[in-house]
Structure formats: C-alpha cells, structure tokens
Symmetry: D2
Subunit: 333 residues, 4 copies
Amino acid sequence: MLIVMKLNAPRSDVERVKEKILAIGVTGNKGKVDPELFLNLPGVLEAIPVTKPFKLVSRDVKTENSVIQVDGIRIGGRELTVVAGPCSVESRDQIIDLAFALKNLGIRFLRGGAYKPRTSPYSFQGLKDEALLYLKEAREATGLRIVTEVKDTATLAAVAECADILQVGARNMHNYSLLEALGSVRKPVLLKRGFAATIEELLMSAEYILSGGNSNVILSERAIRTFETATRITPDLNSIPIIKKLSHLPIIVDPSHGIGVWDGVTPMSLAAIAAGADGLIIEVHQDPAMALSDGYQSLKPSRFGRLLEKLQQLAPILDRTLTRLPESAGVGR
Amino acid sequence: MLIVMKLNAPRSDVERVKEKILAIGVTGNKGKVDPELFLNLPGVLEAIPVTKPFKLVSRDVKTENSVIQVDGIRIGGRELTVVAGPCSVESRDQIIDLAFALKNLGIRFLRGGAYKPRTSPYSFQGLKDEALLYLKEAREATGLRIVTEVKDTATLAAVAECADILQVGARNMHNYSLLEALGSVRKPVLLKRGFAATIEELLMSAEYILSGGNSNVILSERAIRTFETATRITPDLNSIPIIKKLSHLPIIVDPSHGIGVWDGVTPMSLAAIAAGADGLIIEVHQDPAMALSDGYQSLKPSRFGRLLEKLQQLAPILDRTLTRLPESAGVGR
Amino acid sequence: MLIVMKLNAPRSDVERVKEKILAIGVTGNKGKVDPELFLNLPGVLEAIPVTKPFKLVSRDVKTENSVIQVDGIRIGGRELTVVAGPCSVESRDQIIDLAFALKNLGIRFLRGGAYKPRTSPYSFQGLKDEALLYLKEAREATGLRIVTEVKDTATLAAVAECADILQVGARNMHNYSLLEALGSVRKPVLLKRGFAATIEELLMSAEYILSGGNSNVILSERAIRTFETATRITPDLNSIPIIKKLSHLPIIVDPSHGIGVWDGVTPMSLAAIAAGADGLIIEVHQDPAMALSDGYQSLKPSRFGRLLEKLQQLAPILDRTLTRLPESAGVGR
Amino acid sequence: MLIVMKLNAPRSDVERVKEKILAIGVTGNKGKVDPELFLNLPGVLEAIPVTKPFKLVSRDVKTENSVIQVDGIRIGGRELTVVAGPCSVESRDQIIDLAFALKNLGIRFLRGGAYKPRTSPYSFQGLKDEALLYLKEAREATGLRIVTEVKDTATLAAVAECADILQVGARNMHNYSLLEALGSVRKPVLLKRGFAATIEELLMSAEYILSGGNSNVILSERAIRTFETATRITPDLNSIPIIKKLSHLPIIVDPSHGIGVWDGVTPMSLAAIAAGADGLIIEVHQDPAMALSDGYQSLKPSRFGRLLEKLQQLAPILDRTLTRLPESAGVGR
C-alpha cells in the first residue's frame, strides 16, 4: 500500500496514518488491505494498493498450471478440452441423439442447460429436473461427461448429483452465497466471467470457491459489455494471456456467446485457442433454426466437426494436443 | 417484430417465415417474441423487435405513478424520500446512536447492512443476525423504518422479518431465484440497478417481482461501469427521465456509491433530485474515518443535515416536498 | 512514481532502476514521468504514477476559479452562463429570427454550427462561410455573442474572425494540431469532452491550449459512450465535482446531446447546474420537426423559456445567479 | 426505415409522416435516411433504420475482397501482411539498423512514427521531418516499404512524399478534414479504428476516403475502451469476422497496442490471424528498455522472428500464406 499525503499535511496527520498502519500490522490482515482504511484519514491524498487481493488462485502461491481431473479426464494440461452441446435440453430425443453425434465426433464433454436463468420471467426457463434425467441418461448411453449450469443453492444438490462439472453462469459470478456453497461441493466448477466483471473480480470469485475448500475451478472467458453494438458483447481475449500470468487455474473460452452468430464461431474458436486458452465450450444443435434458445449462435454437428479438424491442426503449433476418440464410441460405460 | 429478408431470398424462405409467424400467433406468446426465432431461418437478414419486453412495470399498463406505502409512509408521490445510515451495522451503540441522530434530522428511513455481499471472501461480511437485532432495536427506539439488504434466499425470511424495505444489491439484480422469492414476500423491495445492467434489464428484473405477485417495487439507480477511472463507477442520471417515461415505478438514487467520495455526495444528491428522482439513499456515519466499509463516501450527520436543508429548498422548484419531523420523534431519548 | 520490483529481482536490476531515476532527475523532466520508462526494465513488476500529468490547468497552480471574459461577459464566476441556438445554421431567416427570440428570453450567447463534422460523408455538413455571414449579421442585429465550432486548422482563421467563442467538438478533442493552433488564437475556446475521453485526457487537451499561450478555455461535459443503449450516450455528471477539485477552469454542460431527446433536456439541465456546472449549452430551434440536424433533441423557444425560469429559481440555492436582460435588448425588432 | 407510431396517434399524424416519406422519396437521398427526420414528428414512437449507412465500402457494392497494391506487394489477398518497426523513429542508426534486421527476417513493410500525436503536450512528439529523411534512407538501403502516420493536413504532403502507406491513428479516425484530404491522395491509407469508435463508424470513416476517390484503404483493428483496467484497452477481435461480412476492404490488427505488454503480443498476434485478419502491425525495437515510447509493448527482433515462424505454421490452416524473403536482402532496390 502506498499512502500519498497532501503537500501541506501537518505532522499530526502523518502520525495518525502511522498509527493505523501499526494497528493493522499488529492485528494481522487476511488478503489485501483496504485502501479505504486510509483514504478517510485527514491529510491523505491517495492510497494505492500495490499487492493483488487474491491468494489461493495466484501464481505466487502455485507456480505450475493446475490440472483439473474430471472422472479421469484432465483439463488444463497439454490436451485441449472441448465441451459441446445445446444451450437448453429441449427433449429426451434431442439430447440423446446429439450426445451420440458428439461422441462420434470424438467429444468427451456434453453441455446442456436444465435450469436456465433468463432476463425475462416470461422466457423458457429450461426443463429443470426433467432435463437432469435426460442428461443422466445421455451420460449412461454415451459415456460423455455432463456440464450443466447450477442456478441457485436450492437446486445445487440435484444438479450436483447429475453433473460432472457444475457451470456457474455469467450472471451468477457475483452470487457469493452460491460460490460459498460451491466451496464445499466435491465437483469441479466451471466459473464464467460476468459480462461486467473485471479479470480481478473473476479471480476473486474463484478465490471464494478455493477458500471454501474446492480447488477444482475452471475459469471461463465469455465476453464483456462495451459500447459496440454490432455484436451483443465483446470477447476480451486479452484476458487469456493476462490470467495465465496471474493465476494457475485453467481457462476455457465460450466463443458462441462471445460473437453471438454461428458463422463467427469458427474463427473466434481458433482465435481463443491461439491466444492460449485451455479449451472451448461451444453451442451445438442438430437443428439450430428450431432451437428454443441461442439457435442463432449454434453450430450444426457437421460444421462443428470441421471446426474440430481445424483445431487439431492448430494444436501442435501451440504445443497442445486435441485427441478425438470416435472409435471408442458406442459402448457407453 | 420487423423481419428483414435478404435481397435475393427465394419465395420458399419467405413462406417458411410466414409459417413460423402463424405458429407463434396460434399458440400465443407471453411478453416479447424472441427475435432469435426468426434469425435462424434461411433468408432472414435481420429481426428487429418493436415492442418492449416488459409489461407489468410499464406505463402502458398503468399510466399514473405507483406510490408504495411503507408502514404509512408514501414513496413515489409528491413527497421526496430520504433513506440514510451506515453501509454496515458495526455495533449496537453505533446504529442506535446514529438512528437517534437521523431522527433528530427528520429522517424516517434507516439503512444499515447486516448481510454484506463482498467481492473478496476475506472482507468484512457484516454482523449478520446480530445486526438484525440491533436494527430492530433501533426501530423500536426511534420509530425509523428499516431498509436492509437481503443477500440470498436462505436468509430472506430472517431479513424480511426485520426489514420494512428489502434491498436487493447491484450484484443481485440478475439473481432471478432471489427475485422470484421476493415476488411472494409481503414487503416492499428496493431494487438496485446492477453496475452493468441496462435500463431494460432493470425493468425486467422488477417484472420478475411484480409477476410473482409483489407490486411494491422501488427502483434504485446507482451507477454503471464505464471506461472512466477518475471515479469507480458513473451514475447514469439519464435513466431517471427515461425510466419515468417507460415505467410507473418510483426510482431513488444512491449518490454515495455513484461518486464514491464524500465531498461529491452533496452536489450529486441535488443533481439526482433535479433530474426527477423520487428520493435518495445516502451513506451517513458518525465517524467515517473509522467506518469498517465505505467510510470514504459517507457523510457525517452535520454535513448531511446541511444537505437536507438544500434539498428542502430545491423540492418546491420541482413541485415536490421534503417534510422533516424531528419534533414528532416518538419518545426521543 | 512508485516502482514495485519483483519479489526475487536481483540486486543488479534494482541498481539499473536507480540509475534510470538518477538520469531522469539530472536531465529534468517536464510534466509527468512516463511509467513506461521503468516498466521495460528487468525486475520491475509495476510502475505507478503518483502525481497528475497536467500542470497549467491544475488547482495546484491556480487555487481560485478562472473567470473567462468574453467581450465583457464573465464565464465561471457566480453568474451562470447559458448558450443557446440551433445545431446548424440553416438559413438567414432562421438564425436571425431565433437570435431575436433568444435575446427576448434574456440570453446573451448564440450557438449555431457553420462547419459541421459529420460521421457520414453524405450528411449535411453545414452552410459553411455562408453561415458565418448570417451569424455575424445576427450578432450585429441583436448584440448576442457567437459560439460556433471550428472544425480544422484550414478554416480556423475564418471562424475565429466571426466567433466570440470557438467551440471544439467532441470528435476533435484529440486533434492536437488543432489544439496547438488554438493556443495562439486570441479567442476563448469551448472544449468539449470526447465521447471516449477520460477526465484526465480532457484536462490534458486543455493543457495543450494553455501551454500554447491561450488560457481562456471553458471545458464542456457532453456525455460518454457506455453499454447502455436506451440513450445514445451517458452524461458523466460525476465529472463536474471531480473537475472542480482538479482544475480552476470553468465547465459547462451540454444536456441536449447528453440525453438526446427534447423532453429529457429540462431535467438534465437542472441536474447539471445542481451538480455544480457553471452553465449550459442547449439546442433551441423554432421548428424542431423541420430541423436539418438534431431536431429531436432541440427545445422550442417557449419551452426553453420555462427552463430558464426554473434555472433562475435554482440558482440562489447554489449561491449562483442567472441574470436575464430582455429589456436591455439593444433595438429589438 | 421502420416507423412505429404511438398506439393512439391520430390519423393526421400518420398523414404527416406519409408526406415526409414522399418528400424524401421525390428529392432522392444519398446514403442512409436519417431516423431523426421522423423522430421529431408528432405521433412517432420509434424510427428504426433497416439499411446500413455505408455504400462504397460495402460487400453489397463489391462482392470479392479488395486487394490493395503497394508498390507491387498485395494486401488483402491470400498472402498475409506483416508491418513491423518501432513506435517512433528515434535516430538514424536506430531505424537503419532495425530496417536491416527486419529485412533479414523477411519483412517487407517498415513502420516508424515521424509525427506522433501525444495526449500530453510535454511528451516526445517525434523527430518529424528529420525522421522522414531517415525513413527514406531506410527504404533506399533495404527496399522495405514505409508505413508512417500522417497527423494533420498541414504535414500531409511531406509525409505522403515519404510513405508507401499513410497511417491514420486512432485519435484521427474522426478527423473528417484529414479523411477528405486523403480521398484525393494517390497513396494507400491504413485507417486505425478509434478507441471509442463502433465498427459502423470505422466503415463510415473509410467511406469518406473512398467517396473522395481513393479506394486503397486498409482497415486496422487496434482495441476499444472498456471498463477493464488490467489492460489499457480491449481488442475487439469479433470485429474481424463482422467486418469481413460487411465490407470488402482488408483488415489488419495491431496486437502491440491491443494488449500493451510485450509478452502478450505473440498469443494475441496468432489470435488475430486465426480470427481472419489479413495481417498484423507490430512494434519491434532493438532495445525496448531504452525506447522513447511504447517500449513496454515492443518485441525484440529475435522474439519477433520466433513469432514469424509460428505465423508461417499457422497460415496454411487458414488457407493463407506468409512468404519471407530474407535471401533477397542486402541488395536494396
């Protein structure tokens, strides 16, 4: 902390600041010292924090990359992770069929929303528990691991029972009660960056989960709100190299929400991996024109397959790999 | 909804769009029709929504201003509302003493945080249930009505039992599970605008509460995130006249968080009322330099009293009133 | 400047930083030391500037408010300044008629665009030199002082010959060649804040003009770009108290561009003055529906007159005055 | 244009709108019809533009990609373009030495600032005409083509005489007088996106140059201002696929300013090309720690060489090529 005094601050003001510093030093402090504690003392012009407020998520605490194990699959290592599936689970047939299609493309993680937070109370909010049943069935039939969103603490237990990875949506990144609850869950958490959250706040939200005892956190860059209106939000790919310096946690990118139109998903997926992301979470739907939500930004499986081929070509340039295992499909587990 | 077709879209594409319109018309739709339903059809260039997505909060549904009754006091009428108090309840003495000081200044609403959502898991999170007890005691001793934040559904019942007005913080404006729960609570809700929420989203969050059955919602403009770094956030006072046109709900402004430094609170309070706000929520603390949170933006009671005098002079210019009743202060002390 | 070294920076890195500090100290430096000079040295983690980069515009250099004299009228003192007129000069009759209407309302400054910077090369760019002639005629007929925009250095001499105050538009706030040229002009400059400029950058642009020898600069807050789409831009009224602390220069607000719709201009004008602005620049047009530009945000003279009455009531609450002198209106017509 | 009338707008209001539409139709209109022309008519609720305001830069006018020829080298075709060099020309030796180093790496375009627009009047503003001389000498010695910034109309002739490509900086993207002047220059223009400019505004600024008669415009994405403070600005890579759909003009990315720290330049360069950019403009300096400006974001030639190798591996995945011709170095032209 750098305390800048006003030019003509009297000796007594300086002494009062000194006392406060001593008081804080004696009682000890967890995390960052709040600049406010000094700003409101007389004679103080500025109080500039020098150290970062996060601890457990920081590279200072853990130098090597964290690799999150999900039922035997590693996220954050050399191997790239690709999560795919529809925005919402819409029916049993839809999700089971798509799960097999994805498995045949060599995918190992299926995403699908059961509980959907929506801006309007009148929009489709997901099939809820019914969707969780279909996701479990898809898992059993294909062996795909399930990534689905947890919307609140009330449904956390039910969702955690079904999910291999619990997704926290952008609007819940600041829901600290939910983050605290996720600290004591034994499942990995995919934490999406809020659309108005700074990188520091994303890391602080991850800190909530780690400090609660759950160190299996995967960060996810989506996109942030800016003045630009040509796309709904603007992906901040700068955040990839910046977060890689600050934190040991893996980070995957959501290009579907990031650009919001299906024909921009392929270039923005390649861009995210080129920037250093550990993986992607992509919306795929058999019939995007008929999707109940986010159809406009969803890829058909055939186009998604071509994207995967490009990613396999790209990976070695970045010292990464992307393994696809379609041949092992069909047996389930 | 305006559907713009591509210049060379074949007749068959146009027919498909027509069918979809008919299908939607036949099944009926609640609220706004989602442009996505058309965007993903072949041949469609743009789908531009024409009507607003909110209903119950809209002036189209209710022309006159809503006046919220809080234990006999009216919010949203000619009389301006001023809510004052500390960011956090820090001790029994602090809140009781301040409640009396505010009562003597003619204030009728005491704010004070019991459960505090904080960006860092290591920051002070409020005295919680202990603070609720002190707030109740302050209410009994002074007759001031209590405004305090509800952080999650788990603590809603306890907070609702104490509060006269339930405050939803900026970070929870998108917490739809909490908003749904507030729809069935019999207490007025003070809904703060999220720091990255559009005006439309604020109104949609209010729509959640109204559509759940609770029409006693007071909106609150705080400030939004922008590129400017001289202040932490930027108050969007445009939102006052804009919301007054779109909605019948009252709106009050939080100038303390809006500018973030105590010596800017007085001008920004006057500006908010001049822009047409129905009231203010202001941080007041006996000893800002010793406050556990937000001290730098808190006013001392004496300076707050001078602000109230200015507000009383300003009110009649805007055809408003600001009544201060220190003399009727129940028992006093 | 605070230089934060990496935890394990070797002694030699620290020595290299020391040498650089000495080198800079010896040669002297104008204004702020650039943090970059240190950031690229090995071992350096952060370089945090502590002092502000502006000098001549700063309160540190001049404690009392600057009052700009325009042909005997004072801007920045106790008296509020109101500049009014159309976005563009559209015809001789339009501007002369409006000038008389404004004079009869007690206004002393007429605004009107002759050279108009427009986003599209196909939009109306102003009547140019013809408009300058009409403005001069309006000045001679009514005694109103003229405020008009200077678009580039090529037309500066012609515009300066006509204008009493040279306006620099938001898009030219970063046009340093124009700012340099204005440093050697003997006319006051009204410098609008760019829609993506920080407060610090606005002050640095003023610094260009002052350091060139022209200290007659009036700042103007307009509005900044944010994610909000309900209004085109968002006025940053926080900037008024912040700039009043940092700088001695007067600041006036443009509420017409700030909210962009005529029925929001009155509340936002009152808000700007309540926040501490020294005056307003407002778009007024006899027949807004027929205006060639900005009609939607223009007030009719009758409504503008009612706003002036409100401002006269508001001024004394803020220890300001607003004098209107229709009776002294030279000849009238 | 979609005109939405108020629910209860009388017949006469509708008639007035009809008349205006007819009037506009009869007189003809260039480019977009301004929504304002309708917004200020009574009874009108909204006026929503449906067509895009740009013409000559649009894919509607020219379907295939534009390829800009610069002295025999093609920009915007299959071959990627890499422009490299220091932020500022600092001395004769610096620029000549670096030009040879870049030539040996197979680079064909040398960037270097002669006239530098700076936020502070006290910062280094470039070596100006002296720098132009050094750039010419570097061109003669190495055959590298020169890219340098033109700051204003006054120095345009001198800069154009030296430059093979005239760069317009981000702060000048809205300088319409300069853009008009560039319309009649016979040199290609590299037009940087302003840090608060929308994609549509960037295209409109290009439209100024094309409509003036110069169709050799190369767009450049740099980065935009957002609330994020971890990096100075945020590159909007979404703009690449979006602009490729809207316009036929080539677009290259400036990753150095986009991330602002040298160790982020390599990943963000790869990301930009993966997103579909036609090339890069990168800051390279022999001794970044000693650079007079932007040293912190500059690469050393050795590291830049390794980036070029990665780019050569990446290009074929995207059906592009990157040719490097170090062997032809040393002869000059």
